[in-house]
Amino acid sequence: MIAILKANKLVRKFGDLIAVDDVSFEIHEGEIFSLLGPNGAGKTTTISMLSTLLTPTSGDALINGFSIKNDNMQVRKYIGIVPQEIALYDDLTALENLQYWGKLYDLKGQELELRVKEVLEQIGLSDRAKDRVKTYSGGMKRRVNIAAGLLHKPKLLFMDEPTVGIDPQSRRMILDMVKELNQQGMSILYTTHYMEEAQELSDRVGIIDHGKLIAVGTQEELTRQVGETDSIRILTDAMDDLPTIADKLQSFDGITRVILEEGGLNLITVDAESSLAPIINQASQAGAHIKSIEIIEPNLETVFLHLTGRALRD
């Protein structure tokens, strides 16, 4: 496997705050690599360094063999970026926006016109190309935001939470587009705090929290780290008694960990099915009215929970 990106001990500090702490990972050519972590975990700062916007406090990364610290102009030719925010000029049309960004990537003349036309078709906005961006819906803006990063056919595309705040239909379209781009051979670094997106898209996942990359691997490799465990999520209205109930459940055979969550409990267990009946019984005896109960097989959320003791949404 050829690595198109090699990040080596990246650190970025803002005053006393360490936003990214000793992060190292690789992205292989043709793969989708997701950085999964909650808000404030350091995903955007990592992408900002890799895209040469921010200079690392220490460490370096090579993209296509070029250093982000020393060869940033070379690096920029190989990467495309889809920022988390809609980075477009609202008073320009989609066509004018794309022409402008294309020119900054050294596209000219017929090549530029052709690429603009292609990406407009790709995002399904050819018929609205001459409308100003400010007249677009949030989902349409997101699509133009992505298109602007694709014009120069980058080898490596950085997508920083591209589905935040959009409707399910646009979200589905973006996820399908990511898969399509990957099938065309583009390597993608995708950051998200949605476990489902990382699971659906990623060949490999890096889990990041408090600036540290705490696990990297395929989904299978990561869930294996957790062990053969399930989690049982219980929602209850006995909010005041939850700590007492949690203490009692902690002593049950087969339950390895009990995590208090908003509105309920999350129990990590070796065998959810055999543990289920005694758990319900104990909860009822404690006076808790169980509103719902859910058995979750190991997934990235479980991994995150296992590694950090917190849910992704916390």
């Binding site: 955007t44 700062t45 900002s48 895209s51 040469t52 916007l53 921010l54 200079t55 102009m73 920029r76 030719k77 990467i79 970026i81 920022p83 925010e85 809609i86 980075a87 477009l88 000029y89 008073d91 320009l92 004018e96 402008y100 960004w101 020119k103 900054l104 990537y105 050294d106 100003r132 602007a148």
Partner: protein, 417 residues
Amino acid sequence: MHKIWQIARKDLLLIFRDPMALVFYLLAPFLLTLGMAAITGAFNSGDSGLSNIPLVITNADQAQLGNGLVDVFQSEDLDSLINPILDNDFEDAKSLVDEREAMAALLIPAGFSNSIIPQSGQSPSEEVIQLELYTDGESTYSIGVVRTIIQTFLSELESSSASYSVAISKMLSEGLISLEELPTIMASLSTGMEAGSSTGSNYEIVSSNKTFESKNVSYLAMIAPGMALMFLMYNVSAGGVSFLIERRNYTLQRNLVSPTQNFQIIFGKSMGIFLRGFAQVLILVLTSSLLFKLYWGKWLAVLVLIAFAVYGALGWGMFLTSFLKTPAQVSNAGSAIGLLFGLLGGGFLPITTLPEWLKTISRISPNAWGSQGFNILAAGGTLGDLKWILLALFVMGTLLLTIASLFFRRNVIQAGE
């Protein structure tokens, strides 16, 4: 250069897409300048320049008083105010005025001295001697200054003749003249003094004007350069705000991660601001020139001066942007400095009315230099006359842009995250 132009073009396009911004940047200065002139009700009472007033003098008298008047205009005291040009042919002198090379032409006629101080063996002239002042008809404020100087000179002559008798008594008592000489001296003096007392004087100033279609924009001319430069300062500080707005909207970051050098982005956006500022001042100059026949000077020199003034102002705008963190901070600081520099640079009152210490302080502003330059050009000055002003504006712009660029990466680019 291609990318620099693309960035500048995009910024201009954005301005043209925002009608309110367009009105503010381009038309508001013009409308407000007109408003100021209208409110003061002084459209007819001034001119554009109070320094280096080009005056062509034809001294046909070539005697003591004619030469004395020329000496007055050439004196060190009037060095910065009057730019005297000697020409033996009054018709030539008038043609210089017609061609806007000078604001006025003064004819000191032959016999001017003799009409006041009779030469030995000659009787004083009884004819009323006319000092003729030919003007461009527009620059009434400057011409008023010239006229005042001439009248002051003539008043001095009158008061001198009143003191003749005192002087003669003293000369007699000290034996400098004899009693035998006295009747002759008194006769000649009394003739001259009688002529003077009967008419107030035996000389007068006769004015004639070149005719123009409109002459009613003089006060506007006086405040228009200052207003233009004041709005220019607002404009460029608003341009600086656009950097921070782009940072807030994340388009600056997107520009910065494209294969575009930081300097290209800074130059491109600066060029956009520069062109916008240039257009703003040019619109004011063109419209005031076309609608109100306001004379700004020779076009090439005016365009060069606008460019340098915008460059100086751009330096201030970028300097503010590089130090301040938010669009609101830059807006507030830009407004404050725009107002202050407007005051110092003739946006509200002619700079000549400011106290000396304030005039000195005003040199930190592009407004003061620019206003001075426009005054020189309006007074008939050439590009060569602006060399120090252009140099000052260039140094100001370059120095401030250099400082701004040093802090720009740290305060604007890296602070973007």
